[in-house]
């Protein structure tokens, strides 16, 4: 785009008194500057993207081919080359390491599926209710956004206190309301899964709400008026109008929610520290355990790379399917 503008030679020189070399130099400089400007503006972002994302990622990929354990921590550049050993170990489902990675992956997928569905359902419900100008809409919106505004770690730790068996407010309230014994271990056994889903939905659904509210506001009101003239009831309007118009928003929203949930480290770490119960052994913590706790950074990196590839495949597949469906529609 910029090259098109800059390479076209000016038809008129502004100062006829100074033709020749001087003018052309100015032109060249102008052309150069307008061609360079976008890159100059992108430069800092690109540099930091490299520093913060790309280089650590490439380093991680590099480490996944090394036998990097405590013996080489100090001189990790000299760690011996391990070839595909780490990968072989990670996907060897006959051994405990591969098997537990597979289990962890299954738990994480179930966790992501439940969380994304709950977040989306709550989000669309909230957005539909708040779309109409009901009384108290402003304060309600603010209220719903609070979990999203709180620092993740702090709120997850508060949840940990609330879910504790003996002193937690959750058990206390259940007992007061005569809903069960009030002696449930929420952070152990299979209940840990319920707890972590609860906390994650609580934390992420405001994002779904926010995005869907914004999406709904961009649907022209005359479409609804036309639908009403055609005799569509609210449910039909929602199904035949709102949902299809929200499709592009949904496509991105579901993908982002999935990636965030799948990769989340903060909530499981705050709730279970480094040893989560099997039902809540999410893959991010699992990888952390396999690298930092057992000091096997090569294996941990290999697992990360495998996950990266897995997420890439899922993302590309998802985008391909959803885009085609939208074009078909």
């Amino acid at each position: 785009m910029s090259s098109g503008l800059s390479t076209a030679p000016p038809r008129r020189t502004t100062s006829p008194a100074k033709p020749g070399r001087d003018g052309s130099r100015k032109r060249v400089r102008k052309a150069l500057s307008s061609r360079a400007l976008p890159y100059l503006l992108l430069g800092p972002a690109l540099l930091f993207e490299l520093l913060v994302h790309v280089i650590p990622m490439l380093t991680g990929v590099g480490i996944s081919f090394l036998k990097l354990n405590q013996f080489f921590l100090r001189r990790w550049l000299q760690a011996p080359f391990a070839g595909l050993d780490n990968y072989r170990l990670a996907v060897d489902f006959s051994s405990e390491i591969g098997l537990s990675l597979l289990r962890s992956l299954a738990v994480t997928l179930a966790f992501s599926a439940v969380v994304v569905s709950c977040c989306w359902l709550l989000g669309i419900l909230g957005a539909t209710l708040l779309q109409r100008s009901v009384r108290g809409r402003g304060p309600l919106r603010t209220l719903f956004l609070i979990p999203y505004a709180l620092p993740v770690f702090t709120s997850a730790i508060i949840w940990k206190f609330m879910l504790s068996r003996d002193a937690g407010v959750v058990n206390h309230s259940l007992r007061e309301l005569h809903l069960g014994s009030g002696e449930t271990y929420w952070l152990l056994g299979d209940n840990a899964f319920i707890s972590i889903v609860l906390v994650q939905v609580w934390r992420l659904w405001p994002f779904a709400l926010l995005t869907l509210m914004a999406g709904m506001q961009s649907i022209p009101t005359d479409l609804y008026e036309a639908a009403e003239v055609d005799g569509a009831n609210r449910w039909q309007q929602f199904r035949k109008l709102t949902l299809p118009m929200l499709a592009p928003v949904n496509q991105v929203l579901v993908l982002v929610l999935f990636l965030w949930t799948f990769n989340d480290f903060n909530v499981p770490y705050a709730l279970f520290a480094s040893s989560p119960p099997p039902s809540a052994d999410l893959v991010s913590i699992h990888v952390y355990q396999n690298s930092f706790i057992t000091w096997n950074f090569g294996l941990g990196s290999a697992m990360s790379v495998l996950l990266l590839l897995f997420l890439l495949v899922v993302t590309v597949g998802y985008l391909a399917v959803t885009s085609r469906r939208r074009h078909d529609a």
Partner: protein, 465 residues
């Protein structure tokens, strides 16, 4: 800051070169690709080099010290250590920058410091990690010459020295605080239940605990920290010794799933599963202070804790006269091959990072392990001295401290001094935690379950290589 600036300027120089390289090629896509690759490589090299090369003594009269969290809070540690550090500065003219690091972060921080070379001069480590950290080669070796600078090997207690590194290798840390396990019991609760003396063996211990348990009244015999992998692995190890079990053979190869180790973990789990003498919170307590709260609030009549528990109990406001201390009960008679062990050699070691201000660091270590300092600081932390001259100080001759000291000197064994000890703690400890968690769901844990857990733990350990 200036280091960072330097790093940035070198980075931009490299990039300058990379740009020249890039413009030499003709195809624009190839050019961009080459450019990106060149920049990445250049930056990688630069950051890599910066990671290795930086550090080194800047000011010979200042050192950084990472202390572990020994008190009830990080602030209490700062309050205890600051006057001691001031004393050191007065004696030597060396200023000490103190950072107290919680246990949950300490190992991560040490690993990071090892990889980056950006660490402190002197650091505290859990003494059970000493062989693992020795293998990283990050710490100054205490050969005879170096030991000479801190008063020689002979000044330390032998048991404490047994936990400073793998046997036959030059130690890379020296003892700082000594700790051992013992049984704390609530005198009033014992009197109410008609128990006149602390349990002398495991059978009596379980019988007493049952007597003290009355769920309807919210009273239980014992509080555990069942979700703490460190506590779990300690008991798996200690009871394992009593059953004649070993987690590693002579050659240092893991032998986790032996019948002895299974029996030991069975004995520990039975406290929760069949004896049912533990507080409901025991399965969920992830730190020792949480279990201590069960004890000081009167919910639990007994707790198995290390020396430092004294401080935690005092912080919760329980008077020293309200509780008694006894050695942890041992099975009587011992199973065949069993050893009379009721504690691991617990404690904190102190080490100096290589390529740092070693001279000042060693002076500081010498100061911290001097008689005067050992007496003062171990008294403040209710820990045990690790040098013989300090151990004979009258302050440590009171009955309670004497019990801990005797346990440390006579009936404690060092945790396996193998290079993957840290991994042993995490894999076995978390394995036991998950077994405990399964008890909550009402599952019956069989010996096969325990064996499977230990086998899985060992696979994780050996998978690491």
């Amino acid at each position: 800051m200036s280091q960072q600036l330097n790093r940035l300027t070198t980075a931009s120089e490299h990039r300058g070169r990379a740009v020249q390289l890039g413009t030499a090629t003709k195809e624009s896509t190839v050019r961009i690709r080459t450019l990106t690759a060149a920049i990445s490589v250049a930056l990688l090299a630069v950051t890599g080099l910066a990671g290795c090369g930086s550090g080194g003594g800047s000011d010979p009269n200042t050192i950084t010290y990472w202390a572990s969290n020994q008190g009830a809070s990080l602030q209490q540690d700062r309050d205890i250590l600051t006057p001691e550090l001031a004393e050191f500065t007065k004696q030597s003219g060396i200023k000490v920058n103190l950072e107290v690091i919680p246990w949950s972060d300490l190992l991560d921080r040490i690993t990071n410091a090892t990889t980056s070379g950006e660490g402190p001069d002197v650091v505290n480590i859990g003494n059970t990690w000493s062989a693992s950290l020795q293998a990283t080669g990050a710490f100054v070796e205490f050969d005879d010459a170096t030991l000479g600078k801190i008063g020689g090997k002979a000044k330390f207690l032998e048991t404490s020295l047994s936990s400073t590194g793998a046997p036959g290798k030059t130690a890379t840390s020296v003892p700082l605080y000594g700790l051992s396990y013992a049984l704390f019991y609530n005198k009033q609760a014992f009197a109410d239940a008609g128990i006149t003396s602390p349990p002398a063996n495991w059978t009596q211990f379980v019988a007493d605990a049952k007597k003290l348990t009355n769920p309807a009244a919210g009273k239980y015999g014992l509080a555990l920290a069942g979700a703490s992998y460190t506590e779990n692995v300690h008991f798996a190890f200690i009871l394992g010794k009593q059953h004649g079990g070993n987690y590693f053979d002579q050659a240092g190869n893991p032998t986790f799933a032996t019948p002895q180790n299974v029996a030991a973990i069975r004995q520990y789990l039975n406290l929760l599963a069949t004896d049912k003498v533990t507080t409901p919170g025991s399965v969920e307590n992830s730190t020792t202070p949480e279990a201590v709260t069960d004890f000081t609030s009167g919910r639990a009549a007994m707790i198995m804790g290390q020396t430092g528990t004294i401080t935690a109990i005092a912080t919760n406001g329980m008077q020293p006269s309200a509780y008694g201390v006894a050695p942890l009960p041992i099975a009587d008679p011992l199973p065949p091959g069993g050893e009379r062990i009721n504690s691991h050699v617990a404690g904190i070691n102190i080490a100096a990072f290589k390529d740092k201000n070693t001279d000042a660091g060693l002076k500081f270590i010498n100061f911290m392990t001097s008689k005067a300092e050992q007496v003062r600081i171990n008294q403040k932390y209710s820990a045990l001295p690790v040098t013989s001259d300090a151990a004979s100080d009258p302050i440590f001759q009171n009955p309670t401290t004497k019990i801990f000291l005797d346990v440390l000197r006579t009936t404690s064994a060092p945790m396996p001094m193998v290079t993957n000890e840290a991994q042993f703690e995490t894999t076995v400890g978390s394995g036991v935690s998950s077994l405990i968690a399964q008890l909550v769901g009402g599952k019956t844990i069989t010996d096969d379950d325990i064996r499977a857990t230990l086998t899985a733990a060992q696979q994780k350990l050996t998978g690491g290589g």
